[in-house]
């Protein structure tokens, strides 16, 4: 079985801080990590490698420094890694990104494509389904369990209020959520083996034979018009009101912030 795992290196947005004086994001010193949902996708692929002897290839679109994330994936146990990187991809929105990744994956053999549900920097959850569409594959999102069966895969899809068990033939694209599994750590033996045994292939826009008009900024239907930081969490307000009014104030604040 051949499995392709889509992986993205992201800044650890949980560690991002806002500069209290300027109200801007402090980006320096924020560690880069493998996107958490992608790690769940990778872990499931590695489990299928352990149980069914699957061959696991990582595909990632990113700048050269994303190599370190691919190294981590190889140390966890993936067999090969491809970094597709080119200045031509700059400014890509989700569709352009999906076109780039789909073109890359078209060069490979695959039975299953695993992606994480969403990345913690973009938070769109769009790339997985868009790749599936571009490759003409069935998709199942919010996957929390995968089983190999004779006719293909039996997959448990999470719903807000329960789940759905689905049978699907391969090839298929699945997007993983954190409930799918507990990702493993890097294996120390792999750390020492991988620099000799496993090379990271770097491909550029020419290698993936994609139509250049669908890549990068020009291939992006959506563009950011402006971005702003949210109000920094300040001292906070002290309310001294009778219970009913106090409750009203709290509820209105909760609604304002979309917590309820």
């Amino acid at each position: 079985m051949n499995i392709v795992v889509c992986l993205k290196q992201v800044p650890d947005t949980n560690e991002v801080k806002i500069d209290q004086k300027t109200g801007t994001l402090i980006r320096e010193g924020v560690p880069s990590i493998i996107n958490p949902d992608d790690k769940n996708a990778l872990e499931e692929a590695l489990r299928l490698k352990d149980s069914n002897g699957a061959h696991v290839t990582i595909v990632s679109m990113g700048p050269p420094q994303a190599q370190i994330a691919l190294r981590e994936a190889l140390a966890m146990g993936a067999d090969e890694a491809i970094l597709v990187s080119d200045r031509a991809f700059a400014g890509s929105d989700t569709l352009a990104t999906s076109n780039t990744l789909a073109a890359t994956i078209r060069q490979l053999d695959y039975d299953v494509i695993f992606a994480g549900r969403q990345a913690i920097d973009g938070d769109t959850a769009q790339v997985g389904p868009e790749i599936a569409e571009l490759l003409g594959l069935p998709q199942i999102t919010y996957v929390e369990k995968v089983e190999v069966i004779n006719s293909g895969l039996k997959v448990r899809k999470a719903w807000e209020d329960g789940y759905e068990d689905i049978e699907v033939k391969t090839p298929v694209l699945l997007t993983a959520i954190k409930e799918l599994n507990e990702p493993r750590y890097m294996n120390i033996k792999n750390i020492f083996g991988m620099y000799q045994e496993k090379e990271i292939k770097t491909w550029n826009a020419d290698d993936i034979e994609a139509d250049k008009t669908v890549l990068g900024l020009n291939g992006s239907p959506t563009k950011v018009k402006k971005s702003m930081t949210k109000e920094p969490k300040g001292q906070g307000e002290l309310i001294q009101l009778p219970p009913k009014e106090a409750a009203q104030f709290v509820i209105s604040k909760l609604k304002e912030n979309h917590f309820i």
Partner: protein
């Protein structure tokens, strides 16, 4: 001079750090109170090839280096000194000598399972009458036919009772003094071998520290490690490597305590300011930071020397001496920074202080380290 770690070493640090935070830290306080040996952690470490880091892949190891192994012990010890010493004793004191002095058959039979983490290792040299004076071995090993018969006992053995494989020193020829000591590989199921007293300790309380008892214990002669009469040299060489591990443990304890302290200083307010605003305390942690950094450089240099075929006996002694004293100083001052809260089990800092003390004692007391350093200096 290259002061940067290799990519592999950085990955080892990252992996063990995550492992320590997620798997080791949550258990640390509880196992210290209950003295429960964290067997599940050992099994997890085995899964990730952490129990054979510097051993060649040919022998089931991870094919890494001693500096990576030291980093692993360091990162584990930041969160739990017990877990750090379990790894250190297993790797340096048991897998180590078999790797250095074992025959091909012995390596295949014993080193491979140890490196793979299928078996846990320990080392027995210390006896009731032979501590710093290790040459006063009273355990005897008499060759009778195809076996050596061992009689005697060892005390204060780390991983005792939990280990499967033990490298043990015994006297094969009393008349020859230190040149009459030999080393043997003991399996826990050998007839005549039993575990005696479990020590109830001040620190590293979940580390299993026991007596080993040999009563006409039959050890096949193939289990002689190295040559007869060479055991003392083997033991000393083994301890040189072990000192790097313990120095790394002490370094980790010191770093863990310093991290907890700076975190607390930013949170705790007195006189309307966080503790971190007070210069007296700022200077205190600045001094500790420098000492920790010095300890780190000594530990890494000793490991570097071992990796590069350079002699490392003195470097290991320096590292162990300085790192253990630093651990003691940092943890004691850390408890001071935490004040009353630091004295209670609410915070992990009191445990770190209790854990630190043993690093000044085992695998050669600070006094022994000074003997080694002085001998080299004044030769």
């Amino acid at each position: 001079m290259n002061f940067t770690l290799t990519k592999e070493q950085e990955f080892v640090r990252q992996m063990v750090r995550e492992f320590a935070i997620n798997e080791v830290e949550p258990l640390a306080a509880d196992i210290d109170v209950t003295e429960r040996f964290p067997r599940e952690t050992v099994d997890k470490m085995a899964r990730y090839h952490m129990l054979g880091i510097p051993i060649a892949t040919k022998y089931g190891g991870a094919g890494g280096d001693n500096l990576s192994y030291a980093i692993a012990v360091e990162e584990l010890s930041k969160k739990c000194a017990t877990t750090g010493v379990i790894l250190s004793a297993h790797t340096s004191l048991c897998a180590g000598p078999i790797d250095m002095f074992g025959t091909e058959e012995q390596k295949m039979k014993y080193l491979v399972p140890l490196a793979k983490g299928e078996k846990l290792g320990a080392f027995g040299l210390t006896e009731p009458n032979a501590g710093t004076d290790a040459s006063e071995q009273q355990t005897t090993a008499i060759l009778e036919g195809d076996n050596y018969i061992l009689n005697g006992s060892k005390i204060f053995i780390t991983n005792g009772g939990e280990a499967d494989t033990y490298v043990v020193a015994a006297m094969t020829d009393k008349s020859k003094g230190t040149r009459g000591i030999s080393c043997f590989i003991i399996e826990k199921d050998f007839e005549g071998f039993s575990i005696g007293k479990h020590e109830d300790k001040l620190g590293i309380r979940a580390s299993s520290t026991t007596e080993l008892v040999f009563t006409n214990c039959m050890v096949p002669k193939e289990n002689l490690l190295g040559k007869e009469g060479k055991g003392f040299g083997i033991a000393m060489k083994t301890l040189d490597g072990g000192r790097i591990g313990i120095a790394a443990q002490a370094l980790g304890i010191a770093e863990g305590a310093l991290e907890e302290s700076t975190k607390y200083m930013k949170e705790r307010k007195q006189f309307g300011k966080p503790l971190s605003a007070f210069q007296g305390l700022q200077w205190m942690v600045a001094e500790l930071d420098v000492k920790v950094e010095c300890a780190k450089l000594l530990v890494y240099k000793a490991a570097f020397n071992k990796d590069n075929g350079l002699s490392y006996s003195v470097e290991a002694a320096r590292a162990k001496l300085f790192a253990s004293e630093t651990a003691m100083e940092v943890t004691t001052k850390a408890v001071q920074i935490f004040g009353g809260y630091g004295y209670t089990k609410e915070y992990p800092i009191e445990r770190m202080m209790r854990d630190a003390k043993i690093t000044e004692i085992y695998e050669g007391t600070s006094q022994v380290q000074k003997m080694v350093i002085a001998a080299n200096l004044l030769k």
